[in-house]
Symmetry: C2
C-alpha cells in the first residue's frame, strides 16, 4: 500500500491527499508533526526518507519520492485511472501552469520555515508577518483570477477537476487561516466552492485528518 508522510495542516501534503482521494488510491497516512518537539521533520530518521526535511514524502514499494507535484504527476502516470491532467498537450500545459502559479509563486513564500525565519532571524513582528503573508497570496490570486477568465469552466481549466484545483483549494484554506480578503476573486471562489462540495476534497481536508488538532 502507498505510504504518505504528511501533516494535517501542510498544504503540500493536503494536495497529495486530495489527489489520492480523487483517484481512489488508498494510502497509509503517517503523521510527521511539524510543530511538536521542534518539528519531527528534522529527525534524522525522517531525513533518510526526505533529505530536505519537508513534507510530504510518498513511498510506493521501493520508490521514495518527495515534492508534492512530482508525487501527483507520478501517481497520475503510474495509476492512470481518473486522470488529474487532461490528454491534450495545451490543456495539460495550462493545468501545470495554473498549479505552478500556486505551488511555485505563492506557497513557498509562506510556509512554516519561512515565517519562522522572518520572526527568528529578521525580527519581523506579527503585523509585518501577516502583511508579508497576505501580500504574496493577494499577488498570486490576482493573477490567478485573470488567468481563470481564459482557462476556467466549472474548474480551473475547463469543466474537469485537475491538478490545478488540487493546488488551489489548500492555498485558499491557508489564505482563510490568515484572514486574506477573498471578495476580489469571484471565479476562484466559485471553483473552490464546487471543489469543496466533492467528497474527495472533504475527506482530504486538514480538519478531517487523524492528526488534526482542532
Amino acid at each position: 500500500m502507498l505510504k504518505l508522510y504528511g501533516y494535517w495542516r501542510s498544504s503540500a501534503a493536503y494536495r497529495v491527499r486530495i489527489a489520492c482521494a480523487l483517484k481512489g488510491l488508498e494510502y497509509e497516512n503517517i503523521s510527521v508533526n511539524l510543530i511538536n518537539n521542534g518539528g519531527e521533520q528534522h529527525l534524522p530518521a525522517y531525513g533518510v526518507l526526505n533529505p530536505n526535511h519537508l513534507v510530504p514524502t510518498l513511498q510506493d514499494g521501493d520508490l521514495i519520492l518527495n515534492q508534492s507535484l512530482a508525487i501527483i504527476e507520478y501517481l497520475d502516470e503510474a495509476y492512470p485511472d481518473r486522470p488529474l491532467l487532461p490528454d491534450e498537450p495545451t490543456a495539460r500545459a495550462k493545468v501545470r501552469a495554473m498549479a505552478h502559479n500556486i505551488a511555485i509563486d505563492c506557497h513557498p513564500l509562506n510556509n512554516l520555515r519561512v515565517l519562522k525565519y522572518l520572526t527568528v532571524e529578521l525580527g519581523v513582528d506579527d503585523g509585518q508577518k501577516a502583511r508579508w503573508y497576505r501580500h504574496w497570496v493577494k499577488t498570486a490570486f490576482a493573477g490567478f483570477e485573470l488567468q481563470l477568465e481564459q482557462t476556467s469552466g466549472l474548474f480551473c481549466v475547463g469543466d474537469v477537476v485537475s491538478m490545478a484545483d488540487v493546488c488551489l483549494v489548500p492555498q485558499v484554506y491557508n489564505a482563510e487561516r490568515f484572514n486574506v480578503p477573498m471578495q476580489e476573486y469571484p471565479l476562484l471562489n466559485g471553483i473552490v466552492r464546487r471543489c469543496r462540495q466533492m467528497t474527495s476534497f472533504a475527506e482530504a481536508a486538514p480538519e478531517n485528518q487523524p492528526d488534526a488538532v482542532v
Copy 2:
C-alpha cells in the same frame, strides 16, 4: 516560430533557454527588462500575456503559457525529439522531484521581487539580505547533494541530461553571483561542470544573451 519573453539574468527564463537549446528548438528571444523603467514586466501590455507579471512567457501559435516548468514540460510533449524527461515513471518522478527541489524550494525565495520586498517593506539591510539568500540556497543544495547520492550518474538523474539539470545550472549561476560557498557539494559541482561543457548550456547562459549587460 516560438516566442520567448525573458530576461538574460532571470533563472526561470534561463531554464527555458537551456531546454530549447537541448531540444534544438529555435525561438524569437524577446527581452522584458526586469530593471529598467521600474521593470517592463509590470507594463500593462505584458500583463495581457502574463497576468502574474513575471518572466518567462512562451508563445506557440495561439498558446500563451507562463511558468518555466510548465513551459518545459509542454515543449517536451509537443516536440518530443531529444526528451528532457525519461520514459520510465519512477525515473520521470525523480527528475521532477529534483527539478522541483530547485524551482519550488529554493528559487522562489530568492528572486528579484522577494529581495525587493525584504529591502523596501521590511527594511532588511544588505548583510541580512545576503544571509537570507545564502540560507535558502544552502538548505536546498544540502538536501540536493544527499539526493544526488541516490539518483545521480553523470547528471542529476542517471547518465542523461534532464529537466533536473536544466533547473540546477541556473540556480548555481545565481548562487555564484551571491557568493554562496559551494565546496560542500561535490556531486552537484561535478554535474554542473559537465553541463557547462555542453554547447546548449553555454548558448543559453545569461552572458551570451543579446540583452545581457556585462
